[in-house]
Subunit: 307 residues, 2 copies
């Protein structure tokens, strides 16, 4: 078992989908990554920041799931980061209705002493300078995984490229991979992104699965065809958390094991979208995970002998 | 080895992609299906219609590939069906520039006597009444596969539903599955389409692969991530031809074998898009097919033990 250090937002979300809407509920990349990674036998910690309006119940939920929260700063008198969005009818696009950075505007992440030796570091979507600061505080990680999004490509590209040059794995979605690389073909985009630093490039395609590229090799994990997608919020973070959590629990960062890791990530993301917010992930049983993993095997495994 | 009967257009195409354009070249669903199926050890025949403007070289190409053309009517003084289209920059959409039905307007398909006992029938995209006529001429097929498209949903829905009620397998793309079923979720769409007749529903997602649904089971074949897609014309027909050809060659129409069949179909389609029109399929070697099949295995096969 390796130590897993996660940096990412711990926040409030308010979500509208064609199926309903929520008030302020628990959200944030750090939250989703942490909950997903906690499905594995890992020693994980989340570095983040919240205001004192953040309910103790939410923090307790994290600790109850064996997530160390020493690195979550609670700012007295501060207000927690808030995001609100509305999904389109097909759930493949969304509009941001409101973003209130609040305490996130002055976030100086502090990695707890006990996690400076983390073997695996998961840099959740945040300003690249915050990600960089976390990276500078860890001692000698075996694997650094970066998640980011187009917002930073548009607004902080130099800082983003700097972080990208220092990580081992990058996870981004297909449109972002195209934007970052200037290549339409995802195979070409991945090769170009690999020249920027990461030895492993994971391209997330939402309902169309995820691709893992490494040198001349490529592996594909499908998304499970679901009867209903209820709320896509956090699916990408849940995927990344499953990927990082599985690698940390198995202490094996080979390409072969990364294949399993993206299958586990896809598997966990398929649960995340079944309910609003973190609801489904909070109550997920090991039996449910195992049973759906069997469905993933049936979905993709075939028997063709190469003669 | 089973006999494979194919009905579909044999035609002229003129294609524009971001990479170039062609004059009138060989095209048509029947052509692509036949060429793809000919990769397997099958006894196949194409039923179609052309004008006497259709080059003998093109007909010779089919016979050279062991495709029986007794069922291709050549209309003296008639002109061959012509389609012209222009692809958008991302190759995922296209505009039809011209459609000249010509001899296709009065197509009364005649199944050669020697193929009325075909075990496998592949109804390529055509007016549902033409597909129905072929179906009425065959004696006792083991498996009937239907390919169709949204044009017939818009213009001949009752006839289409009649054909759909009589087939075993339907192959359509994701948007068409949604249109036909009224369901956005592809899992739900497939279930609904199955109630219309077909025991097997194949949903083609282009660059995102293909799904095979049967009762409560589902199997997924990815598309190979390619550096370049040059011309998508015929990819869906090539997929269907590979699917039908493999099933015919192996004389095994079980669900397990259909999994292999959609892998083979995806494999062949990945070649089709690499050059304009039928160019790549005309020169495809068995070694190339086998080598890419190995790539498909590496792309999707993983080792997770379910404990």
């Amino acid at each position: 078992m390796s130590k897993l250090l996660i940096v990412g937002t711990v926040a409030f979300d308010a979500i509208e989908t064609p199926f309903g809407k929520t008030d302020k509920i628990l959200g944030g990349a750090g939250t989703y990554i942490g909950l997903s990674a906690s499905q594995f036998n890992v020693d994980s910690a989340v570095v983040s920041i919240v205001g004192d309006d953040f309910p103790q119940d939410y923090l307790d939920l994290l600790t109850k799931n064996n997530i160390n929260i020493d690195g979550i700063e609670v700012v007295p008198g501060g207000k927690t980061f808030f995001w609100s969005g509305r999904y389109h009818n097909d759930l493949n696009a969304r509009d941001t209705l409101d973003t209130q950075l609040n305490v996130l505007a002055d976030f100086n992440p502090v990695v707890p002493n006990n996690y400076k030796d983390a073997e695996i570091v998961m840099l959740g979507n945040l300003h690249p300078l915050v990600q960089l600061s976390v990276l500078e505080q860890v001692e000698n990680p075996k694997l650094v995984i970066l998640d980011t999004m187009n917002f930073w490509m548009d607004n902080a590209l130099d800082d983003l490229l700097n972080v990208i040059s220092k990580v081992d794995v990058i996870t981004i979605n297909d449109e972002e991979a195209r934007q970052l690389s200037g290549e339409y073909s995802l195979a070409k985009a991945a090769k170009k992104i690999a020249t920027m630093g990461p030895k492993y490039v994971v391209i997330k395609k939402g309902e169309h699965g995820a691709l893992l590229f490494h040198e001349e090799e490529v592996f594909f994990a499908p998304a499970l065809p679901l009867d209903e997608v209820f709320d896509p919020t956090g699916a990408g973070d849940t995927f990344a958390g499953g990927f990082a959590g599985y690698l940390a629990a198995s202490s094996d960062i080979s390409f072969e094991n990364m294949k399993n890791a993206i299958i586990y990530g896809s598997n966990l993301a398929s649960f995340c979208v079944e309910k609003f917010g973190t609801e489904r992930m909070e109550k997920l049983s090991k039996d449910e995970v195992r049973s759906r993993l069997a469905a993933f095997k049936k979905l993709t495994q075939f028997e063709i002998e190469l003669t």
